[in-house]
């Protein structure tokens, strides 16, 4: 059984059909790539899967549970977390606070315990701090750990996105363009991080336009076009696929 199973997912916005019956599976232990031309519906698929946008039709099953239409915080609680394309987040929180925020099961997040903290809340806070420091160190963010997130470079923001997702103890992370706009050295480092995390048991579904990175990291690769799955397979097979080339480059009149 796949870790993530999407069936017949449909969603339109004011008459524009962003998803038109998307079916896709993500097997546990893979870094699955999700590619496709602009407007294919990739980010909408992420938004619907993670509960930010309700679907018009279709189902999403994650780890054997039907999560269709659940609230985003519930979905994150089940072990499915996502990052955002334009490093969105909390510019006025420090890097450590950004990370600690994503920690689950903090009893101190109830109002009475905020005013009169319990021992459990303090202990959990210490745990989260330690975990955040470990994560920051791992992602080479420790030097900027107390800086507000707004002060980070573009590449550091991408790393912070990944770090925040890791703080939730996820089984599956959906990454929306984790290396777009990042210099080649850092892009390579992010790729290394992802492969190491996959080896540690985390599954990834990645939207990306960098074909080099896709070729290096992703197996299998799913191609989306016009709101549904067009093709799926190994990168080389996908790259040679005529229909995929047409989706990206447009159709030639003569062959129609």
């Amino acid at each position: 059984m796949p870790l993530l199973e999407v069936r017949g997912l449909a969603r339109s916005f004011y008459g524009v059909q962003a998803l038109t019956g998307l079916d896709l599976d993500v097997e546990a232990g893979t870094i699955t790539g999700l590619i496709g031309p602009n407007g294919a519906g990739k980010t909408t698929a992420f938004n619907v899967i993670t509960g930010l946008v309700p679907p018009d039709a279709g189902t999403v099953r994650f780890d054997g549970v039907d999560i269709t239409g659940l609230r985003p915080d519930r979905i994150t609680g089940l072990g499915l977390v996502r990052t955002f394309q334009i490093a969105r987040g909390f510019p006025r929180l420090s890097v450590l606070e950004n990370l600690m925020l994503y920690g689950a099961r903090q009893p101190g997040e109830s109002l009475p315990l905020a005013i009169l903290p319990s021992r459990a809340a303090r202990a959990r806070e210490a745990e989260l701090l330690e975990r955040a420091i470990t994560t920051a160190r791992r992602l080479n963010l420790l030097r900027v750990a107390n800086n507000p997130a707004s002060d980070l470079s573009g590449g550091q923001k991408k790393l912070l996105e990944l770090g925040r997702a890791l703080m939730t103890d996820p089984k599956l992370i959906l990454l929306d363009e984790p290396i777009a706009g990042v210099n080649p050295t850092l892009a390579g480092e992010i790729g290394d991080h992802l492969m190491r995390l996959r080896d540690e048991g985390i599954t990834f579904l990645i939207i990306e336009h960098h074909m080099d990175a896709i070729a290096r990291l992703c197996a299998p690769v799913i191609v989306m076009a016009e709101g549904r799955k067009l093709a799926e397979g190994a990168f080389d097979a996908i790259a040679a696929d005529h229909a995929v080339q047409e989706a990206y480059m447009g159709r030639r009149f003569a062959s129609a």
Partner: protein, 304 residues
């Protein structure tokens, strides 16, 4: 003159409380609330109606009831406006405070209408000299500000406050971080409203008289000005800003009176003008306030 200064200090404390309340809602959680004076009115009327008009509860019980009723009202307003933000939230909350004022003015059997409620009891009023009563009330107000300040500091520095500040930056991403955003927004709104209602109840017991025309939107604007001047997001800023705003408002009274040849109406107009000019100047020169918010730091081991 001493009595006047003590009275102004009490009002500064009450504005300080309301600025602390607004800081929870707007400064921490980022929700605009232009209906603050509505919660102040609900608090003032709740305690006054229960201690003099419809019952003779002891003052502390009346104040407690005021806090609970305004917290409930705040939670309801938060739920109703859950899907709104920015300008829409501003308009709806402003409308809420006007509705409260108009209900107070027109439900005559319940609130005595525009005649207001008089003879609201104050602690030891009548048993001690008026000057002593003033001082006692100043002490109580200062204690109230201190306690609420400490509670707000706890909230700001707790994991709970971290979630509120995250919601202020981006509520969708906060949901993805695994937090039930609506619950946090509702609670923050209720807490801020309760603090404001507490200030309103104290105002009634101090002033001994409340009427609908005492709860106009201008008061909300003064509180917003106080928080902006002090530094949105910081609790110390809220209190200091309130003291400064009251000092400035009262100070202009003397400055303007020194200008020769002004009629009473003109004096009032010049004061309003000065207050508006202060707000513009402040936002131009120091938009982050006197005590700009600093993000919270944690001890970190050496990066190597």
């Amino acid at each position: 003159m001493e009595n006047y200064l003590v009275a102004m200090a009490v009002f500064a404390g009450l504005y300080g409380l309301m600025a602390l309340g607004l800081n929870v809602i707007w400064g921490m959680a980022g929700m605009i609330n232009l209906g603050l004076v509505g919660f102040m009115a609900v608090g003032a009327y709740t305690s006054a109606l229960l201690t003099v008009r419809h019952a003779t509860w002891p003052i502390p019980l009346g104040i407690l009831a005021a806090v609970l009723v305004t917290a409930t009202a705040g939670a309801l307003v938060a739920r109703i406006t859950a899907r709104m933000r920015g300008d829409y939230l501003a308009i709806v909350t402003l409308g809420f405070s006007e509705v409260v004022r108009l209900v107070a003015a027109n439900e005559i059997r319940f609130t005595n209408g525009t005649d207001g409620i008089s003879a609201i009891p104050g602690p030891w009023r009548g048993e001690v000299a008026p000057a002593t009563f003033n001082l006692i009330f100043l002490g109580l107000t200062a204690l109230a500000v201190l306690v609420v300040y400490l509670v707000c500091q706890r909230i700001r520095h707790s994991p709970y406050g971290r979630v509120l500040r995250a919601i202020r930056d981006d509520d969708q991403v906060t949901a993805v971080a695994g937090k039930p955003v609506l619950r946090f927004k509702t609670e923050a709104f209720a807490v801020g409203a309760a603090i404001t209602g507490f200030a309103g109840a104290l105002y009634g017991h101090y002033n001994a008289y409340i009427a609908p025309e005492g709860f106009v939107p201008l008061i909300t604007i003064y509180v917003v000005l106080a928080l902006t001047a002090g530094g949105t997001g910081t609790n110390a800023g809220a209190v200091v800003g309130a003291v400064l705003v009251v000092a400035f408002m009262e100070g202009t009274r003397f400055v303007v009176a020194a200008i020769p040849g002004l009629a009473a109406v003109q004096i009032a107009a010049v004061r309003e003008f000065l207050i508006a000019a202060l707000l513009i100047l402040l936002l131009r020169v120091r938009p982050q306030g006197l005590f700009p918010e600093r993000h919270i730091r944690h001890p970190v081991p050496d990066p190597r």
